[in-house]
Subunit: 747 residues, 2 copies
Amino acid sequence: MSWLAGYGPEDEEENDNLGVDWVLKYEFDDLDQAEAIEKYRTLLHDLNEAGLRVQVRHGHGASLLVCIRVPRDHLGNMIHKSRIKDWLFGITHSLPAGDQNAMADAETPAEEYRSVYHAVTWQKELGGAGITPGFGKWENITASFPLHDREACSKLLRQWSRKTMLTTKDLDTIRALFGEKVAFYYAFIHCYSLFLVVPAALGIVGWLYLGPYSITYGALLCIWCIVFVEYWKIREADLSLRWGVKGVGRLKVNRIQYKWDKEVKDRITGQTKRVFPGWKQFLRQLLLVPFASVAAVALGSLIVVTFASEVFISEVYAGPFKEYLEFLPTVLFSLSLPAITSMLTSIAIRLTDYENYRTQDQYDLAQTQKTFVMNFITSFLPTILTAYVYVPFGKSIVPHLDILRRTGLKPELLSTQKEFEVDTNRFQQEVIYLSMTAQVLSFGEEIILPYIKHALWQKWRDYRDRQAGFHRKRSASKAADLLLMDPPDEASFMTRLRGEADAEEYKVEEDILEMCVQFGYLALFGVAWPLVPLGFLVNNWLELRGDFFKLTLECQRPPPIRADSIGPCLLGLDFLAWLGTLSTAAIVHVYRGPISEVRLSSLLLTMFITEQLYLAARFTANAALEKIFSGTIRREEDRRYVVRKSFLMASMSRNGSPGSGDSPTRVRPRVRFNEKVNVYSSNTEAMPSPGGSPIPSIEQPQDDLLRGDREAEFWNGSSSDMTSAGAKLIRALCSSKAVGVKSSKEA
Amino acid sequence: MSWLAGYGPEDEEENDNLGVDWVLKYEFDDLDQAEAIEKYRTLLHDLNEAGLRVQVRHGHGASLLVCIRVPRDHLGNMIHKSRIKDWLFGITHSLPAGDQNAMADAETPAEEYRSVYHAVTWQKELGGAGITPGFGKWENITASFPLHDREACSKLLRQWSRKTMLTTKDLDTIRALFGEKVAFYYAFIHCYSLFLVVPAALGIVGWLYLGPYSITYGALLCIWCIVFVEYWKIREADLSLRWGVKGVGRLKVNRIQYKWDKEVKDRITGQTKRVFPGWKQFLRQLLLVPFASVAAVALGSLIVVTFASEVFISEVYAGPFKEYLEFLPTVLFSLSLPAITSMLTSIAIRLTDYENYRTQDQYDLAQTQKTFVMNFITSFLPTILTAYVYVPFGKSIVPHLDILRRTGLKPELLSTQKEFEVDTNRFQQEVIYLSMTAQVLSFGEEIILPYIKHALWQKWRDYRDRQAGFHRKRSASKAADLLLMDPPDEASFMTRLRGEADAEEYKVEEDILEMCVQFGYLALFGVAWPLVPLGFLVNNWLELRGDFFKLTLECQRPPPIRADSIGPCLLGLDFLAWLGTLSTAAIVHVYRGPISEVRLSSLLLTMFITEQLYLAARFTANAALEKIFSGTIRREEDRRYVVRKSFLMASMSRNGSPGSGDSPTRVRPRVRFNEKVNVYSSNTEAMPSPGGSPIPSIEQPQDDLLRGDREAEFWNGSSSDMTSAGAKLIRALCSSKAVGVKSSKEA
């Protein structure tokens, strides 16, 4: 499993990416040889057309790995252009110096890889190779990713395992490695965990002195939720300014799937715009409502049935195998849930497609929204049922469950005691379970399980490959044999490459969603057991590192996409804070005294008043925080001011003919052939704008040289013979496959 | 009353301002002669120091009118500088061409007068004369204003009286004449009135078929309120972009009264900033809460007492003079209200001073907020009492009112019938009164009454002045006499000047507040009588013109201040929409059926559900409108984009050294001596930024020349002999005053 070697001693050779910028995985399992070769040819042709260098190697099974390298001057120019674009769209404030053909060097690896990403995926008219994995004629491209920077990642993880909390510097580093979208997740979980300290402390006090369902603790918890959400909004804005991505959504390119009603020539800008009217889109978005209801019904009924039968078995049934049968409903539930969810997801996807968003971002947002709705139902409904249906009304409902008796089943199967007693602690038990066991389980499910799975799968495949190799020896052509053997100095690299090619894509939305759900548990049910936040706090310490571990070792490196927010989950947080306030009030009201004495009117009054208090609190929190943190926001305006000022000074000095807006510090050396940009020094702070960058630090020259040699070796060979080489590989693989199959038949 | 002559035939001489940019009124009634002259000298000295030309004339009574003119090159430079400043603070996107001493000509009169305003009021270090009327050593400066542009105003008013609704062009014109702050009020009332058409139509239908307290109508009304508020927010943002004032609050200068905790050298900008921490200010702002409660108690108790005694007299009392006594409470109320209000206002002012805001804007906002609270109580509490206390609980409360019986008063004074009946229509009657009579009354009170008052006052003073003149003839020095007589060709101008000097200041906040209150009536009580919106619609048609009439003929021209919103009233609207929804629900619930049958729990349920619906509706409205009108907002981004693009092109053409961001169209002619800027062509639409301006249109040259002559006459005489002239005038006035007094004693 040498693809996990990132954590061994830092072996240069081990961790060197040999200057591979991007990797495409081309699978041709389902194609016959000729077709496979044909498709491969077009792929290579398009890549060459876009001026990209390629090297091809064979992957696991019937697949090729196409390593892509963007020539440095080309890359530098693309970076420069994208900066110009940023400036045009008002994302950055200083116009980068230089003309059409100027070259800039990347401030961060993320920026560099973003340009590479564009070079590979953008449409031809935008200057890319137009390769869209899994879509249209590229459906055989099953993976498209940059390689991980093992060194930096392991370094980071080792640091984090030592210290208790991250700093903004660490966030900057994440941003430098994986781009803003990922960085925002870490910023969020970090900020959230820090905030959790307060309720955790409160919780301990509450647990010792107040006990569950305390009004004081509930009130404080609600206020905390509101304050946190409002604070995060400000923090987010602050970060998006710090990272210079505010309003970055504007300049994103159209999706290929985007259908426009008409092309209008913009009166102001003069460019033709592909317009799809907003009201139309909004009308389509309204379909979210029926979708939500369908999801609610489908999942809801499933949950209700499970719940009912579970209650029935545990409370009413008294026949044989009771202890086993009790688990039956849950098992069935867990088995049927994926089916329903995937069904709903497919609907959701079709809906989102129909809503027809211009950019990929908007599309993802809309999709996440729908996922959020589903997650919301599946995660919260069971507990809500327990809290608001089972415990209060169980006494009157459960007796109706024993249809069996009516259906004339042997009564000895049914619990003898006529009078059914609701177990009032059940709700609290569930909450405890959610905040403790569930967290641990999900952690294992999310990080450890895949790890083991992957490891085993790896072993099995290695074994199979060895088999194939063995059979090959007995059989076919020496040539193919030679082809399929990695040269020794590449071997380790290739294994890592193949490993990453088989790894899963990283979906940051899922992680964010997970945190939102956790926040939801706290807001909705936290009052039932004061130690909930403490549990979450501990969990998050692990979660943060676990997620990073997953990201770096179990997933492909995500393309460094820019974003200026955690997206629709922000709305979710708002919603949860609101619902949480109401729910807390209700729970406290219902569970404080004996439930039988609760009167509806008084409950309503409580909730009505609570809601007013919620609105007031939110308004106050918002106003207060904005006032208090206005400084952090104003800082950006000051920065802008400075840039303009210097610009003005410059222009004044050139008496009357203003010049470029950049301070002299921003004249930078060109990117050298595979120099390593130090990810630890993306000091956006000191710079007036993301335009500026540190002078890249180059490590020991001879080592640099050495790497240079190895790379030279790797990249020798022009694209033309790559085409033939690829073709050869395909043939070899097909044959060996056939052989392998035959031989395994023989065996 | 020739100061009202704006509406006679357009007489050039009549309406010509003789190139007077600004007028200061200096009253020395309370000073002795020497002191008066001394203060006058310092005033003139400061004005001269700031490089302003002055002419002095005597005003009504013991006052001087100092006419100020900013030399054209100085003005042009100030305008240029303020544009540079706008660009520095990111308000506009293109850097105006030209160096330190460049001169720009004003796009609109408002812009021109704004620079004049700055020249007069800004502190010396900022390049102004530092004259702050009524504050510090300038407490004798009782008025500071530019002169109205009679022609443009009368033209506008005549146009409006002909057409039913304004266009955005008209708003641009208002903006061009009076600046954005005023323009926003007209934009608001215009937008509001247009929206009113919908509920007015609904109301007629409702009135014919549904009757009062209809659920349908109520629901529609609430939705309308929400949609309107959300729409206005967008409209506001749109206008603030159209007028290029978005975020203009940033660049406002400090108030003199502003106390800062410490001066910090800003790490980024390098300028020293005078900081007053936000949290401190917020804590101080929290004093709004006790203030609100005090106001509520003070006004509330007053209202309750009035209300109770009124009810008592009308319902219980049956003694003599009943018909007169009935009005007694209301009369007492109206008499005592001003006292209390002024008391509260003084508290409010002290509070706002204490809150210590940096800019005048923020200060005004905070003040308006408090006024809003008071207005809210005084305007809504009585009706709320009727709706929610008198009618529902009257039956049980009113009987307790006849303490008299218990105090053993002759029973024959009390109404005989024991059983007291609540008049359930009283609420509706009040609403009808509010939407009809009250509107008319307030209109008269606001516009017609002052007009008459002013006219009479004018007559009386003219009479008195004639007396004084007559006495003077008999008595004192020919010199003074000569001095106090206006030269014939100035006479008409001087009368107008004196008229405007005596007119009141225009407070746009009050007008906005009035509209908010009206909106509040509609939102809170509209459901009680479907014709309310119709009444308001009619009223507003008149109100709009009436306010403009007031602004142009009864008030001084306000300094053209910039703003990017209608201010805190926006918050008020939000609040009213929310409260309105709840109130509507409650009213409908209570008043539909017989009141005795209303149950609290069901009422609570209704309101609770309504509130959820409100939140949902608001969210939806917000999302929908933002989607639908995103275009109008994006247009500004496009404009910015174009500016940058052209900038880039320019810089590219100068191969690689970027140049100034202005398109060639922006090279403009300098301001000629008193050329008239055509206020009708401030087409911000076509321009990429407020930078651009129309080529000013100059009317008949000989006329221009003529005016030139008259101005030359007016402005001849250097500042030095102005000092002496002023001194002479003061002496003359003092003497004539003395004489006048003496003579009137004689008579």
